[in-house]
Subunit: 493 residues, 2 copies
């Protein structure tokens, strides 16, 4: 059992002393996440102190999130809280390895206590505000699935997912994206991350995978973790640059033409055809069309997907319900061209489907009964209000004279360029101290060229652009958001 | 729309002609799985035939499983039925590529119609008989989770899984496997297959992974699909052979010491220490202890797991609820030694957890409320009865004089060696014609040495041994099982 000395506790109460001892052991990774703490009684007996002292210490630790209780079981050391979608955090990990990266859980908990979970406003986490998902409907559909599908629920899902869901997705793609896709071409999986790893196994480890810069760091992280060559390809105002794809000898381009993050660019049709032409030039070139978030585009004509104008069977379309519905729903899917479907079938259909039947049936119902469409429409309206609120508040604030807004139609975020000399890193730090979590465009670039002139020019252009990701912002927090952004620039609200 | 000629239909009814046309298009992959068929009315109009003709043709196709209906939507071409756990099928795919492997869905459906789903007895599929899982309890717990955890359900799971489940697993491992494991060391994932791919990313693509022969082909398939070197290491009567691990320069040994499939061997303690010693010799050697199915061992002392006697932090323990509960529950977990946990955290914690919160909370309840233990005990009793029934029936049948039984304590299967000259492949074929699906030990060997003398000797020893995998056999089918085995040998029952 844990033992601590109570010899030199000084003037502080015993429970504070005990609280500090345990807290330090958690921070120093002596007590690992998930470790069960001794029962209050036996711990008190062992340390020769009163039960109430242990109780107070535990209460303090619990209040601060270092431990948590399981009814009838006891107290356990907390796992570090999940940090959500992580471009910003991963950058910090890369830059400040000792502070955030390699040190084990203790400091993670501390840093997230100080910096993560206690933001009042979060423009980084990229998850929907709580309470927006129609949970009561979902729960009702789950109950219906339980009573209607009891025998199907005990059967293994086919490798591509259950047909009801794939049919529902197929109809949905036809209706909203004008895509003609047979349900058999749709393969479901527990998250896009998992699907990326299947795609690597399908297309090959000898290929060069190209990702966008700026872009989500996680995508490159996954390719690298799967031991394949990964090149960063710059995007211009129309999307990925074809010449750069050529120059890097890319075989597979992983892109988001409908809704690029973080710039918000939608690739115009002409560039789309150029990308398809690039793929058609060589027999083993493929495009991964990541359509993540495209449901939420607020303005402009919905562009046809690459998949729907691809006659050469070179586009793998990929999308997720994890983002459009709720993070707990781990269902994503990809649409394979028929030739790749055959290859998948012969090479990879030995893998079991990673999504439980139960969630698949529930989601199929949710889509077929029209709730998915309703939810998306409701969320679009909601986000439109949040965006309009932010634009209005910015206009009425002291930011209005010294900032420019762009890509406000892209959905879920826009860009706010601020005329300031303060370096991005400094501004971000001040924001965080003011309990608002922000990220800047400059953080999303990787794999820079070594041409210093160009770099300096680029760097200058990229500075002072805040990614106004409002996907997690509640309507009632719009005013405060702009106030805190001003405050962090030492401006009046 | 589909068009068929009705010019030369001959004497057969029109609906039979239409039925054949569509069926042939499905078999020839002209109609892919999931394709929606035209509505009866428009199809009839288009073909110039009556609605009832189309209706009859669809009904026939549906009755034979070629198409299925979605209420209010219409008819769709069926996906090939899932074939369950696949050592046998995958062997057939490897050997007879044109027949089972590369040809696309049409023939798959046909072959599974003829050979897969229509067995009366299946000694291969390795899934629990239907109706054994306490579904009503599971459904009740799901309802409780829905009402108690509505806010938690909408939060993203931590990367390792939710703490309640990991704590429950940790207590369970302590109770039943005497393993001291902190919940923080447990990482959940949607199936062991997915966890294997995480392990490869964790331990490295430059390592040589060793799998057992005989053994599950799927494990080697996964390593190969993930582009890492994979060596087949023979097992003797005590488990994997250390000298062979050395000779193949293996870095990582993927083994099942508690319950080897298909031989049923449990590795004795002395060999366990030898394996640990092998791992300790070099800094980067690891053991993946696949404890799949160990819950069901019916006889003999439960051996300590390698994980529990490993002080060098070289063992990754892995197990699944997919097998012990129901195939629809896609939850598996691995236990990492602390040093690897740190590495996992810094390298791979960017991956989201692949299991939905909802199933994690339900399973945590199921374990914490004692239902998991009850279920395992009930299933063990059930399987004991099935096994005892099979042993008795074999003893009372004409097999008794010409066969030997071994490893009957290993749980879920035993070995039945038959004195016959009939080659295994022929016997299997006859069995399948008699609607009983069996596999033989000889099918599970791979990567043979090229020494012909040895091979011949080995081959002889390995012939005529049926894997009596009774995990999917209902008690009421025990008698029939033995009857069909006898019939296939031309013996009286």
């Amino acid at each position: 059992m844990l033992t601590y000395s109570f010899a030199d506790t000084g003037p502080e109460p015993l429970y504070i002393h005990l609280y500090k001892c345990i807290k330090n052991d958690i921070l120093d990774s002596i007590l690992l996440p998930g470790t069960k703490l001794p029962s209050k009684r036996s711990f008190a007996k062992n340390l020769g102190i009163s039960n109430i002292t242990v109780e107070n210490a535990y209460a303090q630790l619990q209040a601060e999130g270092f431990i948590y209780s399981v009814p009838k079981k006891g107290f356990y050391v907390t796992e570090l809280p999940d940090k959500g979608v992580m471009p910003f955090n991963s950058i910090r990990t890369e830059n400040k390895n000792t502070e955030y990266g390699t040190k084990w859980h203790g400091s993670k908990i501390e840093s997230s206590k100080e910096e993560g979970s206690q933001f009042e406003i979060d423009l980084v986490s990229n998850t929907a505000p709580p309470g927006k998902f129609p949970f009561s409907i979902w729960a009702r559909l789950m109950r219906e699935v339980i009573s209607e599908k009891s025998s199907e629920l005990m059967k293994k899902s086919p490798w591509g997912g259950i047909m009801e869901l794939r049919s529902a997705i197929s109809l949905n793609l036809k209706q909203f994206r004008n895509m003609e896709v047979s349900p058999g071409q749709i393969i479901t999986g527990a998250g896009t991350e998992y699907l990326y790893t299947l795609i690597i196994q399908l297309l090959g480890y000898d290929k060069i995978y190209a990702v966008e810069t700026p872009g989500y760091k996680k995508i490159a992280q996954i390719y690298k973790s799967n031991n394949v060559a990964c090149e960063y390809i710059p995007v211009d105002n129309s999307g990925i640059i074809i010449e750069e794809l050529e120059r890097h000898n890319a075989d597979v381009a992983h892109i988001s033409p409908s809704h690029h993050y973080p710039t918000g660019i939608a690739t115009p049709v002409s560039r789309r055809y150029e990308i398809l032409a690039w793929a058609a030039e060589e027999p083993d070139r493929y495009i991964i069309e990541d359509d993540y978030d495209s449901e939420f585009r607020l303005a402009g004509k919905q562009m046809p997907t690459l998949q729907s104008i691809d006659i050469m069977e070179r586009v793998i379309y990929i999308n997720t319900f994890t983002k459009s519905l709720a993070p707990t729903i781990r269902i994503s899917y990809m649409v394979l061209p028929v030739t790749l479907l055959e290859k998948f079938h012969s090479k990879l259909s030995f893998y079991s489907c990673t999504v439980s039947n139960f969630e698949q049936y529930t989601l199929a119902k949710f889509i077929n009964d029209g709730y998915f469409e309703k939810h998306i429409n409701r969320m679009r309206n909601y986000y439109r209000k949040v965006r309009d609120g932010l634009l209005k508040e910015i206009k009425n604030s002291s930011l209005s004279g010294i900032s420019e807004i762009s890509e406000e139609g892209s959905g879920l975020h826009f860009l706010l360029k601020i005329h300031t000399d303060m370096p991005d890193s400094e501004y971000i730090e001040i924001c965080r101290k003011n309990k608002i979590n922000v990220s800047c465009l400059s953080q999303y670039y990787t794999g820079e060229e070594k041409n210093h002139d160009k770099e300096n020019k680029n760097n200058k252009e990229r500075q002072h652009i805040i990614i106004m990701d409002y996907s997690g912002i509640r309507l009632e927090d719009v005013e405060k958001t702009v106030k805190l952004l001003c405050k962090s620039l030492n401006l009046p609200g």
